[in-house]
């Protein structure tokens, strides 16, 4: 990004995959000066430098294409008034992100660019390159900037301390994601970040300093001047011109924001058959939404290619495992140079030489790159030739490389757990660069410890499990149906368990999508497709009453109309949905003219003639959402109300339509609707949560009182109808959560495996999540998540057999005191008590190897010391500690 210099041969970042150097052709002397230099080629020990690599054109025949070309952060150079190009202390949020990062140019030390001074005051400007038709052509909302600005402000304060003053200048605060509203509130109340509702026009340098002066108008109309040390521009997301070009070549339709055009009911399908889209190219979005789309696109491709599954993939040959039971340990130690990464600091031959002197070590060597393919093959040969039965690799981190070396062991016929790594790179050569002698000593210590441990390692077994190929989807709403449809199209028998009398869920209550599609029509099409599909079995009026088993082998009892059936299935998808909040405020329920959004939708669907007689309509937003006891944004209501407001305006253009809101959150390209609504003369009045509107039926009319934030005056609106945009409330299902051992948050939504990277699955293997049960979301996102859950499920079902890890806990019943701490504490429900009627050790604890993840929580918690973690046994760890103690 130009924040710091890098060399002409570079790796993008330390953890890059592949971790390979690249030559930057535009800056390399060899390429600029036609053949001069070339030093890198001479010096490279593996001969990896090839100046003659040419661009090749490769033609691929594929069954489907997924487009995920991403976005470019908006370039604010065009904004003259912010002088981004001229003022070094005006930076983009991406640049600021690098400054905060430990791997960034300042190693995470928060300093400003001009003078390396620690800033005391930082401002963020929102909507730079978003929601703006004047200075750029991006009238959409970029969806992510509000949240990232708050995150940056909070982290900046963490780095710089409490005294740092952070101010965010915004138009509408759009924290519509899961847990975002809570984060916003904490940022405001706990971290003391200032939020100022104003779009600042100009940044002026303060003469003689590097500081920046801005002028803005506060909410009370006061004009203020303030000086900041640094200003961060929260730049939006935009599609690169070359991507728009590519789309044109592919014949794919784009939206007015140059995003890929999709339909609500097919959220990842482009206008061209067989080509799917995900990520920001589908529309501005954050990471979890991109991950959801990505899985959905994979599912969509899988649906059309299912007959060709497994035709092109390659399988590996299995090698029989040698039995080493009772053998004296024969340890091989391979010390890696990692090019000069390790050898540049540590005396690698010395370490290898030392290893020879250790007990049971029969073979040692050093490798240039232990991870290279030829070394791997060589290592397998050595293991066989030297009849090694334990292996130590002293190299980098097991986190990235252990699986690779374990595979080598497997290929050589050794159990993969007869292996240990000593990290002499990340924990040695990298951190003790300036002290090679001590680093070498440390490497010797680490190798000695690893050898001591590996000598005590035993072959561990991995349990193999068949995966039942049937799927169960709980909830027959739009998300559940989408998941079921996708699973069935990919060849899996699928059962839908719906508690109601028909399929459809909340979508039955909604009039149309913001893109103008008729929901009832699309929905009945989908229901029809589901009912006709031979592979889908719909259970209406049904509920799950018990669940036994675990991933791949669930046994659930389904009760329908008093009849119980047991269903065996390999996976489950939870799509239990949500419903609309029924408020007690605003005189709801006391007058039929005061209704919820869904009740208004019903009137639209029924073409209620009374709608034509309305002269004045008021919408009240955030009813039950974003309040202390329900601190989340319901995500859908702003768009929904605005769309309904437009519909009313269409029915009667003379109608007065008011929307009373706190922040308008028409994220992404939904923003166009907001713009359209304003253009149609719909009046938006902002209220604050501590000064809510009042609704009172008075004779013919309903009087709505609200304080206008611009005029600062109480207004009285006469309304014929008042629509309350009520919160989306999850169908909190503790019982189901308990059946599948999945967590629920304080609001009643299920908690996914990972907020960013695992949004459609649970930490519990074989259980997946989609739709409103995860978080409020519109139909397109529900469908995408339904498909995503299916995709994630298929990756598991496709394996047919699953192997559990060998590194698991095991009880020693003779020492067990039956206190049950392990049973209580295990997040995976792996421990249980041996039955009271058992002949041996009744009442003592046992651990199900299939459910155990080897986290060690039970081992650490067992007061009686009755649990061991295989592969991290006490004697193994003590042996390591003992060898370490020799170092001091």
């Amino acid at each position: 990004m130009g924040l710091a210099k890098r060399k002409a041969i570079y790796v993008q970042y330390a953890q890059a995959v592949p971790l390979k150097y690249t030559i930057d052709k535009a800056n390399c002397i060899y390429f600029i000066k036609k053949g001069k230099c070339g030093a890198c080629k001479k010096i490279c020990p593996t001969g990896a430098v090839d100046f003659d690599q040419k661009e090749e054109i490769v033609t691929l025949n594929v069954g489907s294409v997924i487009l995920s070309p991403g976005f470019a952060p908006f370039d604010p150079t065009v904004f003259d008034a912010y002088q981004y190009a001229k003022l070094p202390n005006v930076v983009t949020a991406m640049e600021f992100e690098r400054v905060l990062s430990a791997s960034g140019p300042t190693m995470g030390h928060l300093v400003r660019a001009s003078d390396q001074k620690e800033p005391k005051k930082i401002a963020w400007f929102q909507c730079v390159g978003s929601r703006d038709m004047n200075k750029c052509d991006n009238s959409y909302c970029s969806s992510v900037c509000c949240m990232y600005a708050i995150k940056e402000a909070v982290i900046a304060k963490e780095h710089a301390g409490k005294d740092l003053d952070c101010a965010v200048f915004f138009m509408d605060m759009r924290t519509h994601g899961k847990e975002f509203e809570r984060f916003y509130t904490t940022a405001k109340d706990k971290h003391g970040i200032r939020f100022i509702r104003c779009r600042v026009h100009t940044i002026n340098p303060v003469a003689g300093t590097d500081d920046l002066e801005i002028r803005y108008i506060t909410e009370t109309g006061e004009l203020k001047t303030e000086i900041f040390d640094q200003i961060v521009l929260s730049v939006g997301l935009q599609i690169k011109p070359e991507i728009a070009e590519l789309a044109k070549r592919l014949g794919i339709e784009l939206t007015e924001g140059r995003f890929c055009k999709t339909e609500t009911f097919e959220p990842v399908a482009t206008s061209r058959e067989g080509i799917f889209v995900c990520g920001v190219f589908q529309g501005p979005k954050d990471i979890p939404q991109a991950v959801i789309d990505a899985s959905a696109a994979a599912s969509a491709a899988g649906e059309i290619l299912s007959e060709a599954r497994n035709t092109l993939i390659k399988h590996k040959e299995a090698v029989t495992e040698t039995n080493i039971t009772g053998e004296r340990p024969r340890i091989g130690v391979f010390v890696c140079r990692c090019g000069i990464n390790i050898a540049g600091v540590v005396d690698v031959p010395k370490v290898a030489e030392y290893a020879k002197t250790l007990p049971y070590v029969e073979f040692t060597t050093d490798n240039l790159y232990s991870c290279s393919q030829d070394t791997q093959e060589n290592m397998a040969q050595i293991i066989k030739k030297e009849r090694l039965n334990r292996v130590v690799v002293a190299a980098c981190t097991p986190k990235t490389h252990e699986p690779l070396f374990q595979e080598t062991l497997t290929n050589a016929g050794l159990n993969k757990y007869l292996f240990e790594m000593a990290n002499i790179r990340n924990q040695d050569s990298w951190v003790h660069k300036s002290n090679p002698e001590l680093a070498t000593e440390k490497a010797i210590d680490l190798v000695r410890m690893a050898v001591a441990k590996v000598a005590l390692m035993e072959p561990l077994k991995e349990a193999e499990l068949e995966v039942n190929q049937t799927a169960v989807v709980i909830g027959g709403g739009i998300a559940g149906m989408s998941a079921a449809k996708s699973l069935a199209k990919q060849g899996y028998e699928t059962h839908i368990i719906e508690k109601g009398k028909c399929l459809g869920g909340q979508a039955l209550n909604i009039f149309r999508t913001p893109k103008g599609e008729d929901i009832a029509e699309k929905l009945s099409g989908l229901v029809d497709e589901i009912t006709k599909d031979q592979k889908i079995h719909v259970h209406l009026d049904s509920a799950i009453t018990s669940v036994d088993g675990f991933v791949g082998n669930f046994k659930s009892t389904i009760s329908s109309n008093g009849k119980n059936d047991v269903l065996e299935h390999g996976i489950a998808i939870i799509a239990t949905g949500a419903s609309a909040f029924k408020p007690s405020e605003y005189n709801y329920g006391k007058d039929p003219r005061i209704m919820t959004s869904l009740e208004l939708d019903k009137k639209f669907m029924e073409k209620d003639p009374s709608l034509k007689k309305i002269d004045s309509a008021v919408f009240i937003q955030c009813v039950g959402s974003r309040e202390p006891d329900r601190l989340y944004c319901s995500r859908v209501c702003c768009t929904h109300s605005i769309d309904n407001a437009i519909e009313l305006k269409k029915i009667n253009p003379d109608m007065n339509v008011y929307v009373l809101y706190r922040d308008i959150r028409t994220y992404g390209e939904r923003e166009y609707l907001y713009k359209k609504a304003r253009g149609m003369g719909i009046i938006f009045i902002r209220y604050s949560v501590d000064n809510k509107p009042e609704v009172k039926p008075e004779g013919e009319k309903i009087m709505v009182g609200v304080t206008d934030h611009i005029l600062g005056r109480r207004l009285s609106l006469e309304a014929d109808i008042v629509t309350l945009a009520t919160a989306v409330i999850p169908n909190r299902d503790e019982k189901l959560a308990n059946f599948f051992k999945v967590p629920v948050n304080d609001d009643g939504f299920f908690i996914e495996r990972h907020a960013k990277l695992g949004p459609s699955e649970f930490a519990t293997d074989g259980v997946f999540l989609c739709g409103l049960a995860h978080y409020p979301k519109p139909i397109d996102e529900s469908i995408a998540q339904g498909m995503a859950a299916a995709s994630r499920a298929v990756t598991l079902l496709a394996r047919k057999k699953i192997h559990t890890s060998g590194t698991i806990a095991e009880t020693m019943p003779a020492v067990c005191s039956s206190c049950g701490v392990c049973v209580s504490i295990c997040p995976y429900s792996a421990p249980s008590f041996i039955e009271e009627t058992a002949r041996f050790f009744p009442g003592k604890a046992q651990i199900n190897p299939v459910l155990c993840k080897g986290c060690g929580l039970c081992v650490a918690s067992c007061r009686s010391g009755a649990i061991r973690l295989k592969g991290f046994d006490n004697d193994q760890i003590f042996a390591q500690i003992y060898e370490l103690s020799k170092a001091v």
Partner: protein, 59 residues
């Protein structure tokens, strides 16, 4: 079905979305070509510092 279905997919772009698609497809039994313009995959997410709410390093 008359036409021949090919069991492979081309994923264009190796950011977080492209990677997730590619992984899902590969694990479901399809051959995947992952196309990326730059020398390594990871996209914009690899430039981020920490991500909400876990404050995990974006790496």
């Amino acid at each position: 079905m008359s036409h021949h279905v090919i069991g492979s997919v081309l994923v264009v772009g190796g950011g977080i979305a492209g990677m997730q698609s590619a992984l899902d497809l590969a694990n479901s039994g399809y051959y995947v070509y992952l196309l990326e313009k730059s020398p390594s995959i990871g996209g914009v997410m690899s430039q981020l510092d920490k991500t909400f709410p876990t404050n995990d390093c974006a790496m």
